[in-house]
Amino acid sequence: MSKRIEVNDLNIFYGKFKAVEDISMVIEPRSVTAFIGPSGCGKSTFIRSLNRMHEAIQGAYVTGEVLVDGQNLYSPATDPVNVRRQIGMVFQRPNPFPTMSIYDNVIAGYKLNAKRMNKATADEKVEKALQGANLWNEVKDRLSESGSSLSGGQQQRLCIARAIAVEPEVLLMDEPCSALDPISTLAIEDLIQELKAKYTIGIVTHNMQQAARVSDRTAFFNIAGTGKPGKLIEMDSTTTMFSNPKVAATNDYISGRFG
């Protein structure tokens, strides 16, 4: 179910501003790839370009190619809506739909696309997704309550359930734990470990320990200065990156000397 992502010479622009320059990398299936780097270095922009979410911002465009199992995401024939159906995303701040119940939030991917399904199938999908997001036991008795009645950590797991309910090939997470307390963070990190058996996962994080704990491979982004484009400095297996990085800047950042 999971897919391999290959990025070749990707440049991302917001209007005239070049936000990210010349990225080439491979994101392996069934593994967790962490993206680290100082604020404003283009990690989020990059991860959002992997499912064409950055196009929601006016004036944003890319050059270069992103291949998902050999298919170019940015070829004119590709429909961004279909891309997003295969590559799910979890955001920094939990964003359940406030007008929907917990149940409806989980199957929002089907409901909003007006896919018809019978009650039994829907129930099954909701339970499976909530089990997958480690939330089922906490909410099974109050599925009809509003999604915003949950705590922040539960809301974030609800958002993960919503993202995996549509059974995507890839799951992208943009600082999924930055608004959460340590216990909720731990719950989500455990969840990432379980999810990696099935999905290709990309995670942006500011938390070095988190990158070290959850990821198999780590990519370090950096920026030369304000107004300059962000670049991929180094990418390797997480163990190598944290113990023996090749580039001095990576070592400085990881050991907290700057950034």
Binding site: V81, M89, F91, L112, S146
Partner: protein, 403 residues
Amino acid sequence: MSVPRDERTVAGHTAVDRSAAPDSPENVTVRPDSSGLTPELFGTPEPSSPPERPADTGTGLGQSGKLPSALPPALLLLAAGVSAAVLLLFDTWSWTGTAALTALVYTVGIYVLARAVEGPRRAKDRFVTALVSIAFVLAMAPLVSLVWTVASRGAARFDLQFFTETMTGVVGEGGGAAHAIVGTLMITGLASLISVPIGIMAAIWLVEYGGGPLKRIITFLVDVMTGIPSIVAGLFAFALFSTLLGEPGHRSGIAGAMSLSVLMVPVVIRSCEEMLKLVPDELREASFALGVPRWRTITKVVLPTALAGIATGVTISIARIIGETAPLLVTMGFTVGFNFDMFGGRVATLPVFTYDQFVRRGLPPEAFVDRAWTAALTLIIIVMLLNALARLISYLFAPKTGR
């Protein structure tokens, strides 16, 4: 309505400032020898405030006397008594004079007392509180007076006959405004039917799709339209229908509804635009990330989230046009009986009914004036019901947050 946005940006700035602040003491402690840094850090606007603080906190922890809580009302009564007495003494007593003088005496009195007992900061607080309260009373007085006058004068003919009969064949007393009430509801309904879809869709375009110079031009035009004098809207609709149908002096309900729509559309656009802007982008992103197309995101996520606000905005825009007189006078004129045909002939409405009864008084004149007041009262009640409905809608449809 654009205030929340501004507040948010302002709050953002202050948050940035605060987060930047803790850095400075750290820098000082880490590098105490770098004397070049210190004056810069303390050369910020900070020094201007400390001199004021010692004055305030002169008594250790800033403890000072406190006026008893019963004092302000007592002082207010005293001020009223003194004002009335003074005015009586000079033989110039009046309600307004007493009220004005009371406000003045109380404001000065509370400031002086508080300054003596509680210190200058509390005194300033009391002074401003008094000013703000006076402004509130000033704002409320005309409203209360208006509702009271209309209610008391309109009560005379607020009977069953008024709501069941028309003015057909009535020359003196009796008669009613049933035709005008029905006319008002039909015309307003028709105007809403035209304006609400146009307004909401235009707002959706402005918020979700529009961009660049075209958006700026349209926003500007909408703002201009908000300020169109209602009589101009009336003349526009009148001229439009007269020309289109080649029928000089054309009068019809649809022409009236059209003129009201010209007034209503910009109000609907503006209020809906603000409500749609309040829907967090995160929800749109969440929907996009699930592979939901833009139009489905708008109809299934954005609109339901903003529904309460949109419903309130629409109701308020209806309340805004339901009392319009001038355009309806031009486009629909007036009639004494029912006219259910929206596409031909004159239609009566409550505001025009009020105007007509008041201006063309017959005999006995009181009967006409009474009908005018009752029609005005009915109109106010309809607007109040609409506002109550708006509150109910926003209560029922508001996203439940649980916390």
